[in-house]
């Protein structure tokens, strides 16, 4: 596929990105295996040609769109974002994509729409998940104001390349102030709704994975601390780094949660 380029963004971090090798060989993509390394091999079976995304639910103009229609080349931006996984490791990734807000805007959300539900592709004949371990398709959700925040991205590439399949080709969500599992991969459906959607991990372990899943060093995962993180690519003896509230994006998003108790709304 052809190279991609995106306009630089003021929302990018100045942190040094991980290498393409690191980003494309350390993936949680449970449809393609349980560890970090198998998705790089297994995901190559995913057929992404002719991919479409349905945008439906409480919108004035429901429809099915190609990836090019959602993220045309002349609209692409480069967003260098920190990525913090709920497993307490982190990376920096130079994504290429378009903000989600205007995409939803074009579909015309109705006033009753309060949430956005996302659904991943589930193709048992192309995917290699362990049977019975998870409920597929993978689902995630955001509140509408979170989805409309300028940081929220639909990414179609990283560095100057189309999205590697193991990273969620051809189009995926990026919500940089939330744990990585919120940033759903290989999206086939975006549904505006008035009910709070239930994510795949939230459905499996509601005590461990909440709807919000904002990066928060003060609220531990029940089985490990979230106070610090291991920086992938930093070397054997780099130790750990303190985790920042909202993964360091507090200035941009803390106001979304005014009046909420984030220990309860985890």
């Amino acid at each position: 596929a052809a190279a991609l380029s995106g306009k630089a963004s003021k929302l990018s971090t100045d942190a040094t990105p991980n290498t393409f090798e690191e980003i494309s060989n350390y993936n949680n993509y449970i449809e393609f295996g349980n560890d970090k390394t198998t998705p790089a091999t297994n995901a190559q079976r995913l057929k992404t040609e002719g991919w479409t995304v349905a945008i439906d639910g409480l919108v004035d103009h429901p429809g099915t769109y190609s990836v090019d229609q959602i993220a045309p080349e002349n609209a692409l931006e480069q967003r260098i974002y920190r990525l913090r996984c709920v497993e307490a490791w982190s990376m920096v990734v130079p994504w290429i994509g378009v903000p989600l807000g205007p995409v939803l805007g074009k579909a015309g959300p109705q006033s009753a729409a309060k949430f956005v539900a996302f659904e991943s592709a589930w193709r048992p004949d192309e995917m290699t998940a362990t049977p019975g371990l998870y409920q597929f398709p993978y689902r995630e959700g955001l509140r509408l104001d979170e989805a409309m925040n300028p940081l929220t991205l639909l990414a179609t590439g990283l560095y100057d390349k189309p999205m590697p399949k193991q990273n969620g080709a051809p189009i995926r969500l990026i919500v940089p102030w939330k744990y990585g599992f919120k940033s759903i991969k290989s999206i086939v459906r975006i549904t505006l709704t008035d009910k709070q959607p239930v994510g795949t991990w939230q459905a499996m372990q509601p005590s461990e994975y909440g709807f919000y899943a904002n990066v928060n060093p003060a609220v531990d995962h029940p089985r490990w601390s979230q106070a610090t993180e291991r920086v992938i690519g930093a070397g054997l003896f780099a130790g750990r780094k303190d985790t920042l509230p909202f993964n360091g994006y507090g200035d941009e998003v803390a106001s979304l949660y005014t009046g909420q108790d984030l220990a309860k709304d985890y």
Partner: protein
């Protein structure tokens, strides 16, 4: 066949077990120096050491069933297998403390008391420490055979705790952890069979084996 196996087993000197036991460590050091551990060498080192510890623990637990069911006697090698398991546990914990937690003692100690999987692991490690400290012939003499045997039966508890540690560390029950947990259960379950099970002569049916 059994006699041949037993003759061969008698010929294996203890140092050969130690040498074989050092092999996984040697390979790990080699892979580390050659940078063949992938994007996250910290996790790779920590997890490989932990897995190796479990494999040796399981090997030591297989000695009695092998003797009882297949009449293959590896008992003289069991001490080395157990000590190797303990050695890899020490390396696994060292990797966790130094390269994973980066010597953040406060977070680390707070984690242990709060996290079940760390409590399971710490419990297993303490048991194996006690067993390693009393693994010498002198310790058996000092403690007396039956007291020593009672203490060393704690290895069953350590094996269960180790399995729980692995099962509960991830976001889901990892298939590999489930498989080895099942193997541990089978090896412990065999010990509940009446003594003499599988032997042609039959035997004392009332005494459960240790």
């Amino acid at each position: 066949m059994t006699r041949w196996l037993n003759t061969q087993a008698r010929r294996v000197p203890e140092w050969a077990v130690w040498l074989g036991g050092a092999l996984p460590l040697g390979l790990l050091i080699f892979d580390t120096l050659r940078q063949r551990l992938g994007v996250d060498p910290v996790a790779a080192i920590e997890h490989r050491l932990g897995r190796t510890a479990i494999y040796f623990l399981i090997a030591s637990l297989a000695v009695t069933p092998l003797l009882r069911l297949a009449k293959v006697n590896l008992v003289p090698l069991r001490r080395a297998l157990g000590l190797l398991a303990f050695g890899y546990v020490v390396l696994h914990i060292t990797a966790w403390v130094v390269i994973d937690m980066g010597l953040r003692w406060e977070q680390l100690l707070r984690d242990i008391v709060k996290r079940p999987y760390l409590l399971f692991g710490a419990g297993a490690a303490l048991i194996l420490l006690a067993l390693a400290l009393t693994s010498s012939a002198a310790a058996i003499r000092r403690m007396g055979g039956s007291a020593w045997k009672r203490l060393h039966r704690l290895v069953y508890v350590a094996a269960v705790l180790t399995s729980l540690h692995w099962l509960s560390v991830g976001k889901v029950w990892h298939p590999e952890a489930k498989f080895w947990g099942f193997v541990v259960l089978v090896l412990l379950g065999v010990r509940l069979l009446p003594r003499g099970f599988g032997s042609r002569r039959g035997g004392n049916k009332s005494v459960a084996i240790q």
